[in-house]
C-alpha cells in the first residue's frame, strides 16, 4: 500500500506567540495537490512546515510517509522546492546556479552540469543560461527557480505561488510545463496559489485553508467525474408542481425565496425538457444560468461555511 502524499494529524504551528496553523487534520492521496486560500490563510506556513523550516508545536505533518520533523532530511531528499519569493544568487550564471543546487542535492558534478543544461532548456531559458541570474526578468527568474527545483529529479515538487508576477503568456507556458512534468513522470505535485485557475488546471485534489484551519478538502477528479450540471432559475408561478415534475425527470431541486430554484440535472435530461415542463405547468422562467460546479464554487462555499471552523472535515 502506498503512503498518502500528505498526512496532517492535528498539526499546529506557532510562530512567536501567534498560532498560524490550528490543528490541521486530513489525508491527501492524489499526486497533484493544490493548496488554496486567501492571503494569510497559512499556505506558505504549511509548506514551510512540510519542508521542516518550522517545527510543529502539536501534531505532525507527513509527506510520502516521512515525518517533516523527525525525518526532515530524508523528506527533503525527495523534494524540489520553488519558493514564492526571490531566491537566487545574483552574480552566478543561470546554468551554474542550477548546477550548484543540483550538486547540493547530491548529484555528482558532471551529472549536475548535464541536468542543469537540460533543465534550463526544458523550461525555455536555453538562450539565457549563461547570463547572471540577477539580470533576468521576473518571469525568467520564476523559470530559473523551477529549473533548480526539477534539475535533481525530485519525487515531490513543491511550488509556492509559481505564477506570481508572470504575464498571461508566460503563466500559460509555466502551467503547461507543470502539467507536462506531472504527466511525464510519477512526480507528486504540491502547488500553492491564490489563483484558482492555476490550481484547477494542474491539480487533482485541493486543500483549502482559511485562517489557519482546513476549510475544505476536495477531490477535483471525483468532482469532474460526477460532471454535475446546474441550472439556476428565477421563476414565477406554480413552483411546487414545477419542482415535483422536475424531480420526476430525475433532477434534484433546491427551492429558495423569490422563486429561485437550483436544479442539479442528470446527464440524461436536456434543458429543453425543463422548458417543456415549465410550459406544461404555466411557470414563467425569467432567468436561467446553466453551468457546472467549478473550483470557484467549491472555494467560495468553503470560505462561506463556518462549520469547518474546528479544522476538521
Amino acid at each position: 500500500m502506498t503512503n498518502p502524499t500528505i498526512e496532517l494529524d492535528g498539526l499546529e504551528v506557532q510562530l512567536g506567540n501567534r498560532t498560524i496553523l490550528h490543528g490541521l487534520t486530513g489525508v491527501l492521496k492524489s499526486r497533484a495537490i493544490g493548496l488554496l486560500g486567501p492571503n494569510g490563510a497559512g499556505k506558505s506556513t504549511l509548506i514551510n512546515t512540510l519542508l521542516g523550516f518550522h517545527s510543529p508545536s502539536k501534531g505532525s505533518a507527513r509527506m510520502l510517509g516521512l515525518d517533516s520533523h523527525t525525518s526532515g532530511k530524508a523528506l527533503r531528499s525527495l523534494v524540489g522546492y520553488m519558493p514564492e519569493n526571490d531566491a537566487f544568487i545574483s552574480k552566478m550564471s543561470g546554468v551554474r546556479f542550477v548546477r550548484y543546487m543540483a550538486e547540493i542535492s547530491g548529484l555528482p558534478a558532471d551529472q549536475a552540469m548535464e541536468r542543469a543544461h537540460e533543465a534550463f532548456v526544458y523550461v525555455g531559458l536555453g538562450e539565457a543560461r549563461y547570463r547572471p541570474v540577477g539580470t533576468y526578468s521576473l518571469g525568467m527568474k520564476q523559470l530559473a527557480k523551477l529549473a533548480q527545483a526539477i534539475a535533481h529529479g525530485p519525487k515531490v515538487l513543491i511550488l509556492d505561488e509559481p505564477t506570481n508576477g508572470m504575464d498571461p503568456p508566460a503563466r500559460k507556458r509555466l502551467i503547461e510545463l507543470i502539467r507536462e512534468i506531472r504527466e511525464a513522470s510519477d512526480i507528486c505535485l504540491l502547488l500553492s496559489s491564490h489563483l484558482l485557475r492555476d490550481v484547477e488546471e494542474t491539480c487533482d485534489e485541493v486543500l483549502i485553508l482559511r485562517d489557519g484551519k482546513i476549510a475544505s478538502i476536495c477531490n477535483l477528479v471525483e468532482e469532474r467525474r460526477a460532471n454535475r450540471k446546474f441550472l439556476e432559475l428565477e421563476t414565477f408561478g406554480a413552483e411546487a408542481s414545477f419542482t415535483s415534475s422536475l424531480e420526476n425527470l430525475g433532477c434534484e431541486c433546491a427551492v429558495f425565496s423569490n422563486g429561485r430554484i437550483k436544479v442539479v440535472m442528470p446527464d440524461t435530461v436536456e434543458i429543453r425538457e425543463v422548458f417543456k415542463v415549465a410550459a406544461d405547468r404555466g411557470v414563467q422562467i425569467r432567468r436561467m444560468n446553466h453551468r457546472r460546479d467549478s473550483l470557484e464554487d467549491i472555494f467560495l462555499n468553503a470560505m462561506e461555511q463556518t462549520g469547518a471552523a474546528d479544522g476538521r472535515i
Partner: protein, 294 residues
C-alpha cells in the same frame, strides 16, 4: 529530460555521500574567489614573507653562504622558538587581512537574494552550510599560517644538526593549536558579520571594529579601574598571550607579554567565548524563514 527530447525525466543515477556535500559550497566559493585578481594578489602577498623566512633559515644554516655574504653567525638570529613565534605572528596578521577580504562576502551573497531556503530545502542542514563556508576560511587561512610554519619547521629540521628536530618537536603543538584558535575565531567572526551585513566594505569595517573598538574600551576600563582584565577585550593581545605561552617566550615581535597580568586560561576562555558568541549570532540569522515575534 534530455535536451533534444525536451521532456522531463526523473534522475535515477548515483548520489554523492551526504557528509561530503558541504564541500560543494567550499568548492564553489573558491572558484568565485580565484576569479578576483585582487584576491590572488593578496594571497601571494600573504605567502611572500614565508619565502624570506625560508631564505633566512637557509642562510642561518649554511656556513658557505654566510662566508660569501661576509656574515658572522653572531649577527644572525638563532632559529629557535622565538623565531617561529615571529613567523606565526606575521602570518596570523596576514591571515587577518585575507579574512577581512574573503569573509564578508561568503554568506551575504546567499542572503541578499533569499537563496538560503534553496539550500535548506535540500538534504542539507544549517550546520552543513556553516561547515561549508567555514571550510573556505579554514583552508585559506591554514594555507598562510600553520602550513607554511610547519614547512619552515621541516626546512629547519632538514638543515639543522641532527639533534635539533627532537629538541624542538614540541613546537609543532603551539604552531598548530595557536593557528587553529586564531583561524576559528577569525572565521566565525567574519561569518557572523557576513550574515548580518550585506555590503562588503561595511562588513570589512565591522570586522576591524570588532577587533579594535573593544580593545579601546578594555584599555579605558583598565585605566579607570586600575586593572589588567580589560585586556580580555583585546583579542589580538589575547592571541599573543596564547602564542607566547605556547612558545614559552616572554617577548615577541609586537613587544613583551605580561604573563602575570592575565592567566593564559582566561585568554583561551575569551577566545572560545567569542567563537561561541559568533555561533549564536549565526544560528539566529541563518534560518530558512524568519519568524516575526508578536
Amino acid at each position: 529530460m534530455a535536451v533534444y527530447k525536451r521532456r522531463y525525466n526523473s534522475y535515477t543515477g548515483s548520489l554523492t555521500s551526504e557528509w561530503s556535500r558541504f564541500f560543494v559550497l567550499t568548492r564553489y566559493a573558491f572558484a568565485d574567489l580565484f576569479k578576483s585578481r585582487f584576491f590572488v594578489l593578496l594571497l601571494i602577498f600573504s605567502i611572500i614573507p614565508c619565502l624570506f623566512f625560508a631564505g633566512y633559515i637557509f642562510i642561518a644554516n649554511n656556513k658557505t653562504v654566510q662566508l660569501l655574504m661576509q656574515l658572522r653567525s653572531a649577527d644572525l638570529f638563532n632559529v629557535e622558538s622565538q623565531y617561529f613565534m615571529i613567523i606565526l605572528t606575521v602570518q596570523t596578521q596576514a591571515a587577518f587581512l585575507l579574512n577581512c577580504w574573503v569573509g564578508p562576502v561568503l554568506i551575504s551573497g546567499d542572503l541578499t537574494n533569499g537563496a538560503l531556503p534553496l539550500f535548506l530545502s535540500r538534504p542539507f542542514s544549517r550546520a552543513d552550510y556553516v561547515l561549508g563556508k567555514l571550510a573556505v576560511l579554514g583552508l585559506l587561512l591554514s594555507a598562510v599560517t600553520w602550513i607554511p610554519c610547519l614547512l619552515l619547521f621541516s626546512l629547519q629540521s632538514g638543515l639543522a644538526s641532527n639533534g635539533w628536530v627532537w629538541s624542538h618537536l614540541w613546537m609543532i603543538v603551539p604552531i598548530v593549536l595557536c593557528s587553529a584558535i586564531w583561524i576559528l575565531m577569525l572565521s566565525l567572526i567574519s561569518l557572523a558579520v557576513s550574515a548580518w551585513v550585506k555590503l562588503r566594505i561595511v562588513a570589512t569595517g565591522v570586522i576591524f571594529i570588532t577587533f579594535f573598538i573593544p580593545a579601546g574600551f578594555g584599555e579605558m576600563f583598565n585605566a579607570i579601574m586600575g586593572t589588567y582584565w580589560g585586556r580580555l577585550l583585546n583579542f589580538s593581545y589575547m592571541f599573543r598571550l596564547i602564542v607566547a605561552s605556547g612558545f614559552r617566550e616572554r617577548s615577541g615581535l609586537l613587544g613583551s607579554i605580561g604573563w602575570n597580568e592575565i592567566p593564559v586560561a582566561a585568554a583561551w576562555g575569551a577566545m572560545i567565548f567569542v567563537c561561541l558568541l559568533s555561533l549564536v549570532i549565526l544560528n539566529a540569522r541563518l534560518r530558512a524563514r524568519e519568524t516575526v515575534r508578536g
